[in-house]
């Protein structure tokens, strides 16, 4: 085994050290920003370096079986042999690179973005902690260890969404995210219990080895397990019906949205499905559910993204939609394809978020300078910004083209891969054609709303306001530099998994073969004929251009008014603006009834009323009441006493006779 692979523990530990150091700083030296920066960013860069080393070690034999490193025995009870162990294989290697790489860039960006925030050390502490947990998640060698990271990242997202906790809505958003994730985690737990019942183990290697011998293909057990797992994924990766937390999560600082709610954490679900591809491959029904959910989410979220004015909200729904694509991919068995889209998405979506971040940063500074309290995230307050921040504009255009699927850009290849795989499944079952259509439409909408975002933000007249205009300016290099790197990724990220019709195609797929070979037994890869592929490529290209051009033609940035004098929307637009009222429906259906039931029925009526008053105190009162009766009977009149005496006598004599 190449030695450097063994350094994987270092990758995990470094961010944790950063967390401890910065956490300490936040209490003792909140002002020492340079030290914090050094530690916070340093550990990430170091972790990235270590990760590179690990992957390099792995690269010596790309078909090696997974390396499992056991550190200590965690919960050994009876047949349960649970240890804290990390697993390095091709899949986790890719994730490792994404997490540490993108993570490092976003840390750098944050240095500029959070510069003036009083919570600077705390911010970096949380961010480092997040990376730590994310690494545990992707490197964990068993479901429970993965679960540690799984909930850990949830915690960090909770902390970072509510980073500016003094504003109730932020705290609410954080709580909402955590609880919704918990609903998913419930599924994850159930899945683990089922797996343990079935296989008697929880470590990936053993479970996947035993799976074929343990489960009947398409059997009830395996289906149940995978569905439960997918519930977890839906929670973590914001799929229908548990997606509503993600848009609210934008309450956190923008780099956080980029790192957690676009690039890494939210993709954990996809990773989990890919990781347990064997199980899903053995449960076709669940796979279809996954794919269908993905497609539906992709389309549904895209529709909402069409009418959002908050720039981050647009990106948020776009993220949900893109995650839908990834699930569509892994759902149809294109595990490599799904992960591929995950990687490319990590690049361009992070880029978009960070770009919007610097836009917001600029507006914020402007409004701050003039002490006005406009919404720095509302696109209606932007417009024509390319004149003030050319770098950002250009870079974001690159990302937009990528996500819109313009040929040559990374997003094109990954999205096309997913759609092609879906189409290919079509001859197993027609439903996949339908899913493909959904995906295609979603792609169209994607192109449309992304263009819309760009137009309203960077083109047309500026709507920020007279006094603010002079203050609008490009962000500092520390923020733009990461964008450049990400832009490179967005452009040429596609090469790692080119379509089969191109030379050197499917590198990632080959890379993943050791991971996915088992599943291919049940879900063999179907290769489309070259013509079909070319056709699909053509359609995808067409869709992209149609979307972009349509937006360019239809939308007139000139007619938009700034947010404060903007007219009230109506009709379908209003519905879209209000995200199909899903939040309202949920709260009316689940949240408020539960609270009402708990407060009035369970607590006030049943607990306090029935049990405590009626039964507990009631019995006491009854006893006392009898006591008062008894002492009322004690009238003090001898005649009465004698009467009682004699009656007692009669009864007693009756009994003895």
């Amino acid at each position: 085994m190449p030695a450097s692979v063994g350094w994987v523990w270092l990758v995990v530990v470094l961010p944790f050290i950063g967390f401890l150091a910065n956490g300490l700083m936040s209490f003792i030296r909140p002002q020492a920003k340079n030290a914090v920066t050094f530690v916070g960013v340093g550990v990430l860069v170091a972790a990235f370096a270590a990760a590179v080393a690990v992957v390099a070690g792995l690269a010596q034999d790309l078909h090696a079986a997974p390396f499992v490193f056991t550190y200590w025995s965690w919960m050994p009870v009876g047949e349960l042999e649970l240890a804290v162990e990390l697993q390095v294989d091709q899949l986790s290697a890719v994730m490792l690179m994404v997490v540490t790489g993108v993570g490092a860039l976003i840390h750098v960006f944050s240095v500029g973005y959070m510069r003036d925030d009083p919570g600077y050390p705390r911010y970096f502490a949380y961010l480092n902690l997040f990376v730590f947990f994310m690494l545990v998640l992707v490197l964990g060698a068993s479901f429970p260890v993965m679960f540690v990271g799984w909930e850990g990242v949830g915690l960090c997202s909770y902390l970072l969404i509510g980073f500016w906790y003094l504003d109730k809505s932020n705290a609410d958003a954080g709580k909402k995210a955590f609880i919704m994730n918990r609903i998913g985690d419930f599924g994850f737990l159930i899945a683990m219990f089922l797996i343990f019942q079935a296989t008697g183990s929880l470590s990936f290697v053993e479970v996947f080895e035993h799976a074929p011998s343990t489960f009947a293909i398409n059997g009830g057990m395996i289906t149940l397990i995978t569905l439960a797992l997918f519930l977890g994924c839906a929670g973590k990766s914001a799929q229908i019906p548990l997606y509503t937390w993600l848009p609210d999560a934008m309450a956190g600082p923008t780099p956080v949205s980029a790192l957690i709610h676009a690039a890494t954490m939210v993709t954990a679900g996809v990773y989990l499905v890919a990781r347990s591809n064997v199980l899903f491959a053995m449960a076709p029904i669940s796979s279809v559910v996954v794919a269908a959910t993905g497609a539906a989410t992709a389309l549904f979220a895209a529709t909402i993204a069409l009418k959002q004015w908050d720039i981050k909200k647009v990106l948020a729904y776009s993220t949900v939609s893109q995650l839908g694509y990834m699930f569509l991919g892994v759902g149809v068995g294109a595990y490599a394809g799904g992960i591929f889209h995950l990687v490319t998405h990590a690049f361009f979506k992070a880029l978009l978020f960070l770009g919007s971040g610097s836009v917001i940063f600029a507006l914020h500074r402007a409004y701050h300078a003039t002490h006005s309290h406009e919404d720095a995230q509302d696109m209606r307050n932007m417009g024509g910004l390319r004149r003030y921040m050319p770098w950002t504009a250009t870079l974001m255009w690159i990302a937009t083209l990528a996500i819109a699927g313009v040929p040559g850009f990374s997003g094109f290849f990954s999205k096309d891969g997913v759609l092609a795989a879906t189409y290919a499944r079509g001859h197993d079952h027609p439903v996949f054609y339908f899913l493909w259509v959904l995906g295609a439409v979603a792609a169209l909408l994607t192109a449309f709303y992304m263009t819309r975002l760009m137009i309203y933000t960077f083109h047309g007249p500026n709507r920020t306001g007279k006094h603010e205009e002079p203050h609008l300016a490009e962000a500092p290099w520390v923020m733009t530099a990461p964008l450049v790197i990400l832009a490179l990724g967005s452009i040429c990220g596609g090469v790692i998994n080119l379509p089969h019709v191109l030379p050197g195609a499917g590198w990632l797929e080959h890379l993943f073969e050791p991971v996915t070979e088992l599943s291919h037994r049940y879900l063999p890869e179907v290769h489309l004929s070259a013509n079909t592929e070319w056709m699909l490529i053509g359609i995808a290209t067409a869709i992209a251009f149609v979307g972009i051009v349509a937006a360019w033609q239809l939308l007139k940035p000139a007619v938009i008014q700034p947010a404060k004098e903007a007219p009230v929307e109506a009709g379908i637009q209003k519905v879209l603006l209000n995200k199909w009222y899903v939040d309202e429906i949920y709260s009316a259906l689940f949240v408020r009834p539960t609270v009402w039931l708990s407060r009035h029925i369970l607590w006030r009526f049943f607990d306090a009323g029935v049990i405590d008053n009626a039964l507990v105190n009631g019995s006491a009162w009854t006893a006392r009441a009898f006591g008062f009766v008894g002492s009322a009977v004690q009238t003090g009149r001898l005649g009465w006493y004698l009467l009682v005496f004699v009656i007692g006598t009669l009864v007693l004599l009756r009994t003895v006779m």
């Binding site: 005649g639 009467l643 004699v646 009669l650």
Partner: protein, 171 residues
């Protein structure tokens, strides 16, 4: 002859007892009680307890009832103030209870002591003739029943002390 007299005296006893408990005036009640006691004394004699009969007359009808009357006079309850009898309900309840109790106690009259423990008929008469009415009592009283006899003396002492303590004028 004895049987008849038994029934006669029993009748007297019962009737006068009834009157005793129903007369309004305490004095009258007391006098009726005296009559009851007398007839009970007579019954004692009929039942071969001559000495006891005599004592009954002396102690009860004589001493104790006199004491009662004395107290009644002392507290001058002679001419009754308001009656101490309850209303019809009280009477009814009392009557009911009395009857039930009588019925329950009546049961014992069906029982005859086991023959093993019964003396041959007329034993007491014979003892009476041999030892005389007094010796027949005094004998066992000062032999087997010495201890109870002594206790009685202490009892009476206690009673005297008590009566004195409670009744003496000086506080």
């Amino acid at each position: 002859m004895e049987v008849i007299s038994f029934w006669v005296f029993s009748g007297i006893a019962i009737i006068s007892a009834l009157l005793c408990i129903t007369r309004k005036s305490a004095v009258v009640s007391a006098l009726w009680l005296v009559l009851t006691l007398f007839s009970i004394a007579a019954l004692f004699v009929i039942l071969d307890a001559h000495f006891i009969g005599v004592i009954q007359v002396l102690v009860y009808a004589g001493a104790i009832m006199v004491l009662f009357l004395f107290v009644i006079m002392l507290l001058n309850l002679g001419r009754g103030g308001p009656t101490d009898l309850p209303g019809w309900l009280g009477h009814a309840v009392t009557l009911g209870i009395g009857i039930v109790l009588a019925v329950e106690l009546w049961a014992v009259t069906r029982i005859v002591p086991a023959t093993e423990i019964r003396l041959p008929a007329g034993t007491l008469d014979r003892v009476n003739e041999q030892e005389g009415a007094v010796a027949m009592i005094s004998g066992p009283l000062f032999r087997e029943y010495l201890i109870p006899f002594e206790i009685t003396s202490v009892l009476l002492l206690a009673a005297i002390i008590g009566a004195v303590v409670l009744a003496k004028r000086r506080l």
